[in-house]
Amino acid sequence: MTVTTVLKDESRFFNREWSWLRFNERVLEEAEDESNPLLERLKFVSIFCSNLDEFFMVRVAGLHRQVDAKIRSSGIDSRPPREQIDGIHQQVHELVQRQERVLQQIFSELRGQGIAVMGMEELDGGERAYAERYYEELIYPVLTPMIVGPKHPFPKLQNLTLYLVLQLRDRRKGRRVRRGDEGSSSHRIGFVALPKVLPRFLRVGAGDRCGLVPLESILVIKMAQLFAGYDVLSVNAVRVTRDADIALDEEATDDMRRAMAKKLLGRRHGAAVRIEHGSRLASRVQQTLHKELEGAPRFPHEGLMQPVDLMQIYASVDRPGLKDQPVESVNLRRDHADSIFDWMRRSPRLVHHPYHTFDPVAELVTEAARDPKVLAIKQTLYRTSGNSPVIRALTTAAEAGKSVTVVVELRARFDEERNIEWAERLEKAGAHVVYGLVGFKTHSKALLVVRRDPDGIRRYIHLGTGNYNDATARIYTDMGLFTVEELVGEDVSALFNVITGATQPPPWNKVEMSPTGLRGKFLQLIRLEIAKSARRSPGHIIAKMNSLVDREVIDALYEASRAGVRVDLIVRGTCCLRPGVPGLSENICVRSIVGRYLEHTRAFWFKGGGQEELYLSSADWMSRNLDRRIELMFPIEDPTHRAYVKAVLDLQLADTVKARELLQDGRYKRVEGRHRVDSQAETHRFTAASQAEAKPSIPERFIPLASSARSRHEV
């Protein structure tokens, strides 16, 4: 294959959906990895399934809509949507089989540890009585049996809800009906939903014995009682996944959006895209389901349905020995008794969650809320935990008469309800709650505190790669920068004015923003690296992100590779770039790290012919981030910080435990190495050590309060 044909050919890209499935496969591998503690493995099964649910609701549903709109090809590799869906189904079947196998294995190993997921038949007398009482008192009152018959239409099965589906025979009609007379057949289908208000597993047993009984196994034996007047011929489980009706505007091209808008007018909302059912479900019932649910594809399950709920077991079973050892995160402010404002003024600070605690971020908001000199607090909130300290502090600040502006993104997937609730609370307190710009999700993470210091207004800034969420900050790896630098302050001030619609984007001092200039900036940085690359000293780019899907950026990276620039990519999830193809991408290495923490940092390092440049961003290299979201990228200019981030990146490039390398054919292969390097564990050691020895990371100087912070930045 010559270079030119390779470059024009769409096969230079991996299919986005299939690549994502590979990512989920890596999550499953973590469940399969026997070196992980048992309950952690169980958690990975749950994550795998929850990922898959979201994938069907959003991505697969989107492809179905494209099929309906008769769109011929879509995606970065221009494939017919039908072909993509077929590919997905085939791979999902395989993955689900693997998931069931590994879950079986985990269950049996857990049994060895005294934790048993069991059916009613395994319970002893006392436990059984307890379960029955549980049914009578708690389950039964919330059950709603439904029967499909001539007078009862097929019910709307709720999205992601587990149902028991029953084949029933009406005892009164049974004898009178002739065969083949479907309309008045005595055969009925019954449904009963597992109540969502109750935990999925009932815990029985005491001491070393820990029994976990799935709700459905309690229900099954009570079905005859529930459907009185019918003979229960069979009981099985079924679960429907529906189109989440999340417009894929972010990804679609204009033409596509127009075509789909036209076609979708007549289409029912929330069309079914997947039917999961127990493998022994009668084919007759299967056909009825298939017919009633828009011909959605069926996925039979051998084992436990809806394994998402296994997270409950992980959360409720207190067996530290079966989980990852807790590691103490470093609180950067632990030894600082001064106010956070003094702390920030002394020097810029870089935080790396979860290795560093989230405390300083929360502290900035809480202290700002109390500080009389603070005039205003502005913050973007995308996904945040319900009773987060951040929200509480913002409410306090607004009540205290400070100007509080919160940019809330209501379209954050699946979090809408939660977001609206606290947004209303803030508004009541007197804060300005802004819902961003029409057509653009606000994905940038910025916090601005305007304070009237004695020598004038000073802006205290925090910029991050992740959300202001104290809960996820313990699981997601993210980086953030605290700074009071004037030029960054101006930029962030302006950013908020842009988001609130008060101004057009100005020329930026330091940061860059999408959808206006970020794409151009990335391409420019890549091209600059190409320009600076020489045979003796080839260029080098290290980029770390969640997903790499953008066509233009990938082509620029190919160009870089062909110009001899070394490109190291650390892409956790979807990656559409095909590495290692001679004449196209032989200088590009792609690796993915899936481990204990969810890799969430977006960092971009450019060798720049000796003048390194390093940026952190909220944006992935995806079209939706670069074209349809408000994203922010900011430079890391402090040499200590740059060295730190570079060291983290190098560590991840040396990982031999949780890293997988992407091969030319799209498969991922575990990295083999003589030394065992677990980058996440190493980073813990690394941050703890650097905290101990280099506490004043920059030598403290006797600098007057008024100008210390600023003057030092400008060095």
Partner: protein
């Protein structure tokens, strides 16, 4: 130095530090401060003062009250322009300016005014919405719309429904928008240019053009002397809107050539060495085309560079220009029109250098506010107004020497009677302007020339004076000749009573000053005022050997002293002493 006139500066309560910085220092920081990027504590000459250790314990030292930290004041300025609404929030301290925020929202008020004559309701709504967003940004600094200095220019000034519009805006948003008179725009442009490029323009002749969307300010300067300062009612957007054929450039070019030719008939343009063109659009376009822009100075084009640019714009279509520079097409269109204006003005002079600074109305307003906070009361700070008056006076070929002499005597009289008159600095300026312009009516006819002077003054633009002040100057001049009993107070009708008294007092002084140079021989060298119980003595120093006798002066003095007696309630008496 500048007019504290109708543009009232409002800033947040707080004491303004009146300590005078060294003039050079303050200029320096100010220049830096004008560009947001240039603010740096290192560059600030104030830094050493701030370099106090923070709250460190100094056990042996006596208790020293720390120098009270002066927190800078915050101000907001809003420009309701023809194409966009802009707002800036800044910190000002004497000699220091630091921009904190700059907001820009495109709203084409000019399109409405220039094509419909009025601002349409739908546009008003957009203005309201935008100003509410601005108010939210102000809240960040706990400023209120009413605290802001908000001004509007041509687009609002020329709208038939301007009062209703302004009231609507105030009711709905709280912003009290003041409409700047055209000549005030000129003054602000002049003040800013002089601040930015004073050193470059101080020698030789220079032409400053503020190429707005709805109006154009033209300032011709010869070193320190102002030769011409006027505003014209054509602008880039107006040209494009009112002359759709201007889109073909040719028609606009012909129009502009006529304008320039008419100016060139009166003022010599050929010897202009440098031209400053203030146009945000042109600056953006040129930056987009790769011209480097220096702080303060902006873009500098020499003859070859200017020609090259002209060729580029001539040979490219609008779309190409827009694509080359990365600006949108409507901005490219305005920029090209600004360039046409610039080219029309530079054709007769072919200047060595053309500067296109990066500056805007917001810069002008902030500078104005800073200067006002810096120099609350300074004796000679009205020179720009006087030079503007001289520029008007020269147009009518007056006797410069006589006018100078009258101005001098009038001001000496003013200073001598200040205790009695209770008049302030601004009145002194008005008197000076009246003295300079009192004889311009002779250009029309010597017969009752004071009347001609008065209406010429009212019809003129004197940069730095607002219409009400100009009316007062006209009133002073109108009554400077005839006996007091002929003064019809109804002529002063539109003035408020305080202003009427002020006008009468100043008229009284001007009459005496004019009388003491009645023969235009400048006999009086110096003048002072002394008072006894019932006498107001005007003591003049004259040189020996003059042709005229004291009697002539005495006669003229007596003929015009009636008003002086009336306003000060003392008998005026002229005393001559010989100058040493």
């Amino acid at each position: 130095m500048l007019a504290r006139c109708h543009v009232a500066l409002t800033c947040r309560p707080g004491v303004i530090d009146t300590a005078h910085e060294g003039q050079v220092d303050s200029l320096h920081t100010l220049l830096l401060g004008l560009r947001p990027m240039a603010l740096s504590p290192k560059a600030s000459p104030r830094k050493p003062r701030k370099a106090r250790p923070r709250a460190t314990t100094r056990p042996t030292a006596p208790v020293v009250t720390p120098e009270p930290e002066k927190t800078p004041d915050l101000i907001g300025v809003v420009d309701v322009g023809s194409r966009a609404l802009r707002m800036a929030v800044a910190e000002i301290a004497p000699g220091r300016l630091r921009r904190l925020e700059t907001l820009l929202a495109p709203v084409a008020i000019g399109l409405d005014t220039f094509s419909h004559g009025r601002i349409r309701a739908v546009t008003s709504e957009v203005v309201i919405r935008t100003l509410r967003d601005f108010a939210l940004a102000l809240e960040t600094y706990q400023l209120k719309p009413a605290d802001c200095l908000a001004v509007a220019t041509t687009a609002v000034r020329d709208a038939t429904n301007r009062e209703v519009f302004l009231d609507f805006v105030q009711q709905r948003t709280g912003f009290r928008v003041q409409v700047l008179e055209a000549i005030e725009e000129t003054r602000l442009a002049h003040q800013l240019t002089w601040r930015l490029m004073g050193e470059r323009l101080a020698t030789g002749r220079s032409l400053v053009l503020a190429l707005g969307a709805g109006g154009t300010q033209i300032i011709l300067q010869n070193g320190e002397d102002l030769e011409l300062a006027e505003s014209r009612s054509f602008g880039t957007l107006k040209l494009l809107e009112l002359r759709p054929s201007a889109r073909t450039v040719g028609s606009a070019r012909r129009f502009l050539q006529k304008v320039v030719a008419s100016i060139a008939r009166v003022h010599e343009l050929a010897t202009v060495e440098s031209v400053v063109a203030i146009s945000g659009e042109l600056h953006r376009l040129l930056v987009g085309l790769g011209h480097p822009s220096q702080p303060n100075r902006g873009i500098c084009l020499d003859r070859a560079g200017f020609q090259k640019l002209a060729n580029h714009l001539d040979t490219s279509t609008l779309k190409e220009v827009a694509e080359d520079s990365g600006v949108d097409i409507s901005m490219a269109e305005l920029a090209r029109m600004a360039f046409e204006e610039l080219r029309a003005f530079t054709t007769p002079c072919s200047p060595e250098r053309v500067f296109i600074p990066e500056s805007s109305m917001l810069d002008s307003l902030l500078l104005d506010a800073t200067l006002k906070s810096q120099m609350p009361e300074q004796v000679d700070n009205d020179t720009p107004v006087e030079s503007a008056a001289w520029a008007v006076a020269r147009r009518y070929h007056i006797s410069i020497t006589h006018a100078r002499q009258v101005r001098l005597l009038a001001l000496q009289l003013f200073d001598g009677t200040r205790d009695m008159s209770g008049l302030g600095e601004r009145a002194r300026t008005l008197l000076a302007v009246a003295a300079i312009l009192h004889d311009i009516g002779i250009f029309v006819s010597t017969h009752r020339h004071e009347r001609h002077s008065a209406y010429l003054i009212e019809a003129s633009e004197v940069m730095g004076l607002n219409p009400s002040e100009l009316a007062r100057v006209a009133a002073i001049v109108r009554h400077h000749r005839h006996p007091f009993r002929d003064i019809d107070t109804r002529d002063l009708g539109p003035l408020r009573s305080r202003e009427r008294v002020e006008v009468l007092k100043l008229t009284a002084l001007l009459r005496i000053a004019d009388a003491l140079d009645t023969t235009h021989h400048h006999r009086v060298v110096r003048l002072r005022v002394a008072t006894t119980h019932e006498e107001l003595q005007v003591i003049i120093e004259t040189q020996a050997g003059e042709r005229e006798g004291f009697a002539d002066l005495q006669r003229a003095f007596c003929g015009k002293a009636d008003l002086l007696e009336e306003v000060f309630g003392m008998k005026p008496r002229l005393i001559e002493v010989l100058a040493e």
